[in-house]
Symmetry: none
Subunit: 416 residues, 2 copies
């Protein structure tokens, strides 16, 4: 184990410098993908990477690869990647920390004159947020073969502008075909966007995978009638039945705790009038679990519970499956490299499964991949008040540095 | 007893004609108070009343009074009143039958050249439904001194529009101060909106009073966070807590059955996004019972239950009392006039207490008042399928006609 450490102040200054590109009065960033502000931060990134001696290439989905050569130019690079685009009311760290920490790693290695066996690359993935062009993680998705380039080009924003046209407009349509760029591995540093690490006082999360997720839409149909003149025993109250379903869905989440999460986040009551017994209620369900088998069991339990409650309540309930995203398990060797890097530097850490999706979840389909989490205040993200401490950013970047170097040593030993 | 009868076909045609103003594909009406459609039906009513020789005045709450002169211009008028506004998914008869039957009574008297002792008036009360601007019966309430005009003006709809601004916008802010308009009496014909008359095969309900009711607004505040990364045990889910409250409120209704009814009819979830744990839920409560003492007990039980659930769920709940309408007993003389009018015309009838609130419940505070009920199919109301038969409408209007004429004779005798 070497004694290299990143320059925490330089990393922080770089975070604050780029935060001004699209910076908001509330201290957040509004830097939607493929806007002029996105071009501005891309130009900044290209210049900074070249100043650090890198060669920057861009693929035809706008994904940017800043390469620092290694001793063996034949080896595919070890990548450090995330995204520089943000939500409309995004914070200063979501995605950005992962890209700028990668840059800081390269700068640190330059200062130390440290030569790696494999080339290293910092990757800026296009449109991770999916806020302007749905879906999210669009171009890491194309990179991994989850979407076609034609599908990506055809996505439109609310004004009807096409992804492909906007990519051309800002001048970041590269020549390399997206997906042809081979990687030896990828490590993504990201804020947790949840409260677990902070709650347990852990400095680092060793991300072992991304949980599976299923979305549903439920329509409960009862019978609308007058609140003042319909006796309790004659009612078919859609909201009362939906209320029972919300509780059952919550209970199923607790039954499969600690790893399961179940959420009803959206509900509409119709006709939604104070003195009318609700005739129809529409709500969404979000089920997540790291293990697809358990998720499948939860699916069955939820559907059974809804059907039973509908029967007892004298209402009808229609459940529609609208999205199924299987669980991702990261590469054991990459995860071990992260865990050892955290331990070797004395950071308190725990294994954790990501709740949100990330570019790494798609890249894992085509290259050994792992993620590093650092806590963020109260787990708040996708919010201008999103906040991490100087030391937390530094810890994450140092774990990224050492994980990459240890994986590089593994490749070197393998080459022997 | 005279042999006057209303023109049933003309009444029915008038009902169907106005039903087109805000008519829905399902055969109901959506004519929320103070919307452009409300203005349209008000304009229609004013024109129709003037065509029947009436003078139409409007007070500063938008209540409309269509006056047919009597022999004694000094006497306050005998009113026939109800409302022309509807629920978002309302039927064709709720309120409307009472106003248009009043108009039909005047037309019948015109055809017969019948001169009453007291002036007669048809009243259209503003915002009876309370669906857009809570509380219900707002402007008969101001008329009776239950609310101030300032309170009424300051009510806002869910988009934040003020009652006063919308009243000005549609041009129905009259000059007469609401409440200054004296009445000798008021008779309100209305559909029962419950199943009792139909069950017992009665053609007419002689309404002796209205049950007490209380309305509340509850705001539950939890904590917004990411559905994918917030473990079940760290959640403060406002919707889950609200779901428990909805069930507790329903249970309290059953505890006081058969006379009690409790309803949560309106609910809004915020931010209402599929992958965000709800941070705030707003909902309404409607409690009713014929006995004010029991209603007061229910009030205490509901507030206790909400407070307990909030504590257990780690959320905050603010409960606001927004409306308290005590049980009402109608004027004995007016009730007798209705009962005799029904009997004299050979209609099967019974005394009944109203479950729903009505403008008459407030007007009864300032003038002798009674109501006439006619059955509606299956007791269904506040629903686009709300339905009554041609003969039922006719029976109600004939009872209204004779009750008003008999009360007019009473006033005449008293004057002697």
């Amino acid at each position: 184990m070497n004694n290299l450490r990143i320059d925490a102040q330089r990393l922080w200054d770089t975070l604050m410098e780029t935060a001004e590109i699209g910076g908001t009065p509330k201290g957040g960033i509004c830097r939607l993908t493929l806007t002029d502000l996105d071009r501005q931060v891309r130009d900044w990134f290209k210049a900074a990477a070249e100043a650090a001696g890198c060669t920057v290439t861009v693929d035809d989905m706008g994904n940017m690869f800043a390469r620092r050569p290694g001793r063996d130019p034949g080896l595919p690079p070890i990548a450090m990647g995330s995204h520089l685009d943000t939500q409309p009311t995004g914070g200063k760290f979501d995605g950005i920390l992962g890209v700028l920490s990668g840059l800081e790693v390269l700068r640190t290695l330059n200062d130390a004159g440290y030569e790696t066996h494999a080339p290293l690359e910092v990757v800026n993935w296009t449109n991770e947020e999916g806020s302007r062009f749905a879906p999210a993680m669009l171009c890491s998705g194309v990179f991994a073969g989850a979407f076609t380039r034609e599908f990506a080009d055809s996505r439109t924003d609310r004004e009807g502008k096409r992804f492909g046209d906007e990519l051309d407009r800002i001048g970041y349509r590269g020549t390399e075909r997206c997906g042809d760029h081979r990687l030896s591995a990828m490590f993504e540093l990201h804020i947790e966007q949840g409260p677990i690490l902070e709650d347990e006082g852990k400095e680092v999360g060793v991300v072992t995978g991304v949980q599976g997720m299923r979305w549903y839409e439920v329509t409960v149909t009862g019978f609308e009638s007058h609140a003042g003149s319909t006796p309790m025993h004659l009612r078919r109250d859609a909201l009362l039945a939906a209320a029972r379903m919300v509780q059952a869905i919550n209970t199923i989440g607790h039954d499969h705790a600690p790893q399961a999460v179940t959420t009803v986040g959206l509900m509409e009551c119709r006709p939604n009038s104070r003195n009318i017994i609700p005739g129809e209620v529409f709500f969404s369900i979000d089920l997540r679990h790291p293990d697809d088998a358990v998720l499948a069991r939860m699916d069955g339990e939820v559907k059974e519970a809804i059907a039973a409650i509908a029967r007892e309540s004298g209402v009808e309930a229609r459940v529609e499956d609208i999205w199924d995203s299987p669980a991702v398990r990261f590469d054991a060797e990459c995860v071990a490299a992260v865990r050892e890097a955290a331990a070797a530097q004395g950071f308190s850490h725990r294994d954790i499964v990501s709740g949100p999706g990330h570019d790494a979840a798609y890249v894992a389909r085509v290259a050994p991949t792992a993620m590093i989490f650092v806590p963020c205040e109260k787990g708040i993200s996708h919010n201008e008040v999103e906040k991490i401490e100087f030391d937390q950013a530094s810890a994450g970047a140092n774990v990224l540095l050492q994980a990459v170097l240890s994986y590089d040593r593994t490749l070197q030993e393998r080459a022997r």
